[in-house]
């Protein structure tokens, strides 16, 4: 497939990637199908030989774990100290973030990474607090900072980051290596991954082929992209009138890009290099639509789908750099029993819903109140081992 050729030769990244994904899960995995300039965006250099990314050798190296728990997908990466991704996992959250995190850790462990020395762990995404408590994170960061950090690592001179995930989309403006502006979608999730998934399912096209289908079209139809509900009825109308599916699909991609540029990116100065990341970045139709609308080349970095996790891993490296200690609980978290309970606080009419996270029956963390009455700060975890030892 295209993806094999997409990686720069000799990076060895594929060894980690392919080996990691059991066949039962392979359909969860979305990969970039086409890349603009692989050599220019991938940090790996030729000296790194593929054996570096085999678990056996990695036992000697310090690795950093990044976990990004989003509304739709949960991603984990293991990165070494030089910024090379040695393993990555892309799973669907399916509304059960704890199970998804544990499954991800289990997949990493199943590949022999459980012997590796994890010197730091970071979490991000909307489930970052939960993930932080479960894996024992050294840093818990918002997804905007994590995505910016990862983009800067992959493309050091990046000036614009377009990120479209499962249920949110953001734009990050970077100048001279510093984030100077950002925006996230507000109330509307039109144009995010969930909507594309749904439309692909409705048209009976596998989401992986959605983008390629869009590229086949020569005359896209115009679809109202301002609102997901209107876009859908517009699509149905166009389809009933008889337009070919590929024209509708490409029209949809263009509509979503238009919506993104008018909404999220409104008033922002989009300068190249432009990096497009997040789950939707795998959709070549969206990439092409962005390039046409912006008139500049749009780069989709390798690991575009797991950039948040990469950012979390980089931040974990920064956070543990000074102390050399990590709170990471180790790969056994995959087999520990976590329970959650919730109750409604009756102390005031706010009626906050309090969530308790328990590990093997013991209270690990509790949050959810506005006033902070029930919050327990996750206790300082016993340091598992010296990162240097």
């Amino acid at each position: 497939m295209v993806r094999e050729g997409g990686f720069p030769p000799g990076t060895g990244a594929m060894l980690g990637r392919t080996a990691l994904i059991p066949s039962s899960l392979s359909h969860y995995v979305k990969r970039p199908e086409r890349r603009s300039k692989p050599g220019s965006v991938h940090k790996d250099d030729k000296e790194k030989n593929s054996r570096d990314n085999e678990p056996g050798d990695a036992a000697m190296r310090k690795l950093y774990l990044g976990v990004d728990v989003g509304s739709v997908s949960t991603n984990l990466v293991l990165m070494d100290g030089s910024g090379t991704v040695v393993a990555d996992v892309y799973l669907l959250t399916r509304g059960r973030p704890i199970q998804a995190i544990q499954e991800g850790i289990r997949l990493l462990a199943a590949q022999g990474w459980d012997d590796a020395q994890v010197a730091g762990a970071g979490t991000t995404g909307s489930g970052r607090l939960l993930a932080g408590v479960i894996v024992g994170a050294d840093v818990i960061k918002n997804e905007i900072t994590a995505h910016a950090v990862a983009a800067l690592e992959m493309v050091p001179d990046v000036r614009t980051v377009l990120e479209i995930g499962g249920q949110d989309s953001k734009i990050i403006i970077i100048r001279d290596g510093v984030v100077v502006d950002f925006a996230m979608n507000t109330v509307c999730a039109a144009g995010t991954g969930s909507f594309l998934d749904r439309q692909a399912a409705r048209l009976n096209i596998p989401i992986e082929e959605f983008g390629a289908l869009a590229l086949k079209s020569n005359s896209p139809v115009r679809i109202a992209g301002r609102c997901a509900v209107f876009a859908e009825s517009d699509m149905i109308h166009k389809q009933q009138v008889g337009y070919p599916v590929e024209d509708i699909v490409r029209g949809l991609c263009e509509a979503l890009v238009r919506n993104y540029l008018n909404n999220v990116a409104k008033g922002k100065e989009i300068l190249p290099p432009v990096v497009f990341q997040g789950g939707v970045a795998c959709n070549v139709g969206m990439k092409r639509a962005f390039e046409e609308a912006l008139g500049v080349e749009v780069m989709v970095p390798p690991y575009a789908t797991v950039m948040g996790a990469i950012g979390a891993a980089i931040l974990a490296k920064e956070a543990t750099g000074a102390t050399g200690r990590t709170r990471f609980r180790g790969f056994q978290v995959a087999s520990v029993r976590y329970d959650t309970e919730s109750f409604e606080c009756e102390h005031c009419p706010n009626g906050c819903e309090i969530v308790c996270i328990k590990m093997e029956g013991q209270l690990l963390a509790r949050w959810g109140s506005r006033c902070g009455r029930w919050d327990t700060v996750p206790e300082e975890q016993p340091v598992r081992r010296e990162a240097s030892g």
Binding site: K141, N142, I144, V178, V179, V180, T186, V187, G267, R370
Partner: protein, 325 residues
């Protein structure tokens, strides 16, 4: 005689004035409690659909006070200075309330100073007469109320929180200590209507959160009226919404102070703010490149989304400042 004041909208602008005035007239002032989810839910149920969040919150507070008061004080504030208006929703507030719920007797003077500042005194006399107070008592009460209001604004300007400024202005809790000096050399302005940023529920404790992060926080109340007036005078066209003018003027004044970032806090569906936000962004970009972000809340807004944006904004401001230092 018990006068109920709903804790919403202009409460956050004039409460010490009203409280002092009514108490000087020997009335008892009852304020609804801080906004809770229950109050918000009540407001959402009773208010018209199209109303903005703060109006819905106001409905909830009015319903909360219900029949435990003799009068409900809901002034019709049309204009508080010559040639300018307030938000159109303030103009119709007493009617909107009356149309959708059973209320105690409304104490609803019309304040319209668009042509003439002295109209305010007519409104004051009208209220006092309704409460049965004579002219001398009224005059004395009004002078004291205005003094309390000035103190209140001064305490806000010095950086006291809203609750502290209220109690200081009214002569309670005089022992309150000044805010501890911020731990970080970072100043962020939180600009928005007082009824959004000072409200316990709607404001998401944004100001306190930033302070606990060690950030020095400015609000629109941190600037003197003269400072704000001087800034908006330079605009190509006079702005005729008083409260929006304060927000925009404060944003422009931030450009002269050492402010590292500006957060504008608006409610979804606010007509005037949709324009002001645009103006602020343009002027901020044109004059100096200060990071700016717009946070929009409505009744469906979860804390998580707001906190993510605030956290990312602080990261950005701090990293940018560290880089340029």
């Amino acid at each position: 005689m018990r006068i109920g004041i709903p804790r919403g909208l202009l409460y956050y602008e004039y409460f010490p004035l009203w409280k002092c005035f009514f108490e000087e007239l020997s009335a008892e002032v009852i304020v609804s409690g801080p906004t809770t989810k229950r109050i918000l839910d009540r407001g959402v149920q009773t208010a018209v659909d199209e109303a903005c969040l703060p109006v819905k919150v106001f409905y909830g507070h009015a319903a909360e006070l219900g029949d435990c008061v003799d009068f409900l004080f809901v002034p019709r504030v049309v204009s508080v200075e010559p040639r300018a208006y307030t938000c159109p929703k303030f103009l119709g507030l007493p009617d909107m309330l009356r149309a959708s719920m059973v209320l105690p007797r409304l104490l609803s003077p019309t304040v319209n100073m668009r042509r003439n500042r002295r109209q305010l005194l007519a409104a004051v006399r009208q209220v006092a007469a309704e409460l049965g107070a004579g002219p001398v008592k009224t005059w004395r009460a009004w002078r004291r109320a205005v003094a309390a209001y000035r103190r209140f604004k001064e305490f806000l300007r010095q950086g006291y929180g809203f609750e502290d400024a209220v109690s200081l202005a009214l002569g309670q809790n005089r022992h309150l200590a000044r805010q501890a000096p911020p731990a970080r050399d970072l100043t962020v302005a939180v600009l928005g209507h007082p009824y959004l940023v000072y409200d316990q529920l709607v404001g998401m404790n944004l100001i306190q959160r930033l302070r606990s992060e060690g950030v020095r926080v400015l609000t629109a109340d941190s600037f003197t009226p003269a400072e704000i007036e001087a800034k908006v005078r330079n605009l190509p066209k006079a702005l005729f919404w008083t409260y929006e003018k304060q927000v925009l003027g404060a944003a422009l004044a931030c450009l002269d102070r050492n402010v590292d970032g500006i957060i504008q806090y608006v409610s979804f569906g606010c007509g005037p703010d949709s324009m002001i936000g645009e103006l602020i962004q343009r002027w901020v970009r044109r004059k100096r490149d200060i990071p700016f972000t717009l946070l929009t809340v409505d009744e469906h807004t979860g804390q998580a989304g707001i906190l993510t944006r605030v956290e990312a904004f602080l990261d950005m401001v701090a990293r940018k400042k560290a880089r340029s230092a």
